[in-house]
Symmetry: C2
Amino acid sequence: MKNFHHVDYCPVRDILSRLSSKWAMLILITLNANGTMRFNDIQKSIGDISQRMLAVTLRTLEYDGLVGRKVYPEVPPRVEYNLTERGQGLIPYLEGLIGWAITNMPQILDERAKKEMIV
Amino acid sequence: MKNFHHVDYCPVRDILSRLSSKWAMLILITLNANGTMRFNDIQKSIGDISQRMLAVTLRTLEYDGLVGRKVYPEVPPRVEYNLTERGQGLIPYLEGLIGWAITNMPQILDERAKKEMIV
DNA sequence: AACATTAGTTACATCAATGTAACCTACTAA
DNA sequence: TTAGTAGGTTACATTGATGTAACTAATGTT
């Protein structure tokens, strides 16, 4: 029986735990779609993310080098975010997942609805 | 500014919220690697998943038609799990993500380590 | 002097996900 | 009759993720 992980440390689990936060993928996709964006732009684009969670999530993405952050020393402050090369490299795989979701969700929802009726 | 989601309902968020549980992708990958497996096989293969979380996660995967469940009316019970066609369709995209993780994690870890030193 | 601006931070509350341990069934073997 | 088996479930505790609201800095505008 093949076993695809070390219980100790697994890079896949590691990266998935980052991406699987509620907002991470959404932010990456948004930045990819729009290019460079300011903090408030991202927040408006996503619509229902709190200031706090946007800040928190951007920090972890920046920490892992997926997102770049550029501060302009102005008042009021201006901060621009963009995908790094590494972040861009991740996009095709996220889009693969998204494409699959869009293709398959209608039927999944359909089936879910039928199951709810029984319950 | 492009906006890729409805705040109300978004199939991508929906499916991601399922996949981004701690164990879901791992179970899918494990089933893909091994074919049909029994409950205890999956648990042993993953190694550190609790009985409860394996049961819970398998239920949601089954609910969305990604995993099939076949019960043999024997004692002690025998239950076999396998990927459905839909589940198999998801695998290439998961593997894309995994491949990216394996490729990129070494450098990410390297950078993290350097940042820790400063903190 | 008071107000608006942008990009946050902080303390705190709450909700969701996960973990632990005990229990269950129905049958077989010792 | 007691123990073992496979595949769970249940109640409960704990951890982790997310949300809310108030606050901040430094400057320009009214």
